[in-house]
Amino acid sequence: MMLMKRRDFLKVGAMASLYGCAGGGGARGHVVVVGGGYGGATVAKYLRMWSEGGVQVTLIERNPTFVSCPISNLVIGGTKTMEDITVSYDNLKSKWGVRVVQDDVVGVDSAKRTVKLAKGGEMSYDRLVLSPGVDFMFGEIPGLNNAAAQDKILHAWKAGAQTVALRKQLEAMKDGGTYAIAIPKAPYRCPPGPYERACLVANYFKKAKPKSKVIILDANEDVQSKKPLFTKAWADLYKGIIEYRNNSEVKDVEVATNTAVLEFDKFKADVLNVIPPHRAGDIAAKSGIKLVNNRWVDINWLSMESTSTPGIHVIGDAIFPAPTMPKSGHMANQHGKLAAAAILNLLAGQEPNPEPVVMNTCYSFVDEKNVIHVASVHQYDAATKVVQPVKGAGGVSAARNELEGKVAMGWAKNIWADMLA
């Protein structure tokens, strides 16, 4: 595969024009990608790789490095470090010729095909990919709707500073204390993630603070993912430590006393971890594209293009998902490849692939070694115009096991490389 240095970037663009053809089947143009997470980093690399350098790609990301949400619960549980889940953008620049710009996009003009940058100036695009992840609806929990409250009652549902801060709160908590994690109504990012976090915090307490408790306040009627495997882990490994409460939606918080306010009840914790309801990252709403329920972006499954606004593709957690499709990093990576293939076809004047396939695997740690998975495969269905789960395919682990604990770390190394190396 062709590798390119940055100084060759413009030359290739000029050369492509000269020959009336770029690599990768004639696609050319400039694609701007907003957000360098699992979706955005993948689409940026694959556009460059599959176009053999013919398409110019600019990735706009607000953070200096990539920090992974998957595996971050192990940092909170104390068996991995931030260094273990942090990856540089350097290879995207030097090996793949992606122009990486550290900035925020504050507006999109879909008619002029430009994005506006926080640090000033505009950038034009032929195709725009938004991979903005989620933003939180703090207004749904009034007491949490200010910066001071958000510094104390953490979500740690975007990996980074909050991951470190939640770990510090757990370390500072006295033995005999209570950690409570509040889960919003589905759909939310990473369906099994809160239950995994409860396990890993309980695993830490079991060793370091054995009189302490973990309370799961779930707004949903039941455990949202891998239920038999999680409930078995709670009974086998964390009896007397983890308590699960369903239909326990947090309506408000009393910040001074770390109290969660439920519909008919209140719950005071020593460490209160509230994951607020979320919606597509704010730039989606700001760009004026169609949202479903005012929350998630409506997309065309052949191209990941907005159903309302030509030229804007949206991938990852921000989209209105297909049936049974989780909001996961693995799925965002698959969206990125679907979008890259479609964009290259469209830039070359061809129709997108009429039969896309995406798949998901998700590993959850129930202690620092034992893991459970869920997997699914989704094929495009022309009748419903949606990718549908393949019946009879996919499934979960037979039981928690250490082999999949090793596989889970192998998954992380490979998907990080698939995006960024």
Binding site: V12, A393, S397, D418
Partner: protein, 101 residues
Amino acid sequence: MKLLAPLAALCLLATASVSHAADPNLGRNLAATCANCHGTNGNAVKGSGMDPLAGMEKAKMLQKLADFKSGDKPASIMHQISKGYTDGQLDLIATYYAAQK
């Protein structure tokens, strides 16, 4: 600039291939769904414990996949994933990976 010759060649290839395939990149696109775990173009990260698929003989890969599907080959997850693809799709995936380095 050493890129000139390959690009010119690709121009010819692209022109030639457009007429007789709905999407000539179907195999590439399907194979990319495996890359999350098995590495970009089948080049798994060394020491990660995942099987690299790049350059695997096509017949060997198809046999492995058939054994995963039937349950003859024990697996932690591939028995569930392989069932999500048609035999025609698995053939395209195996063809693609056999051609990778």
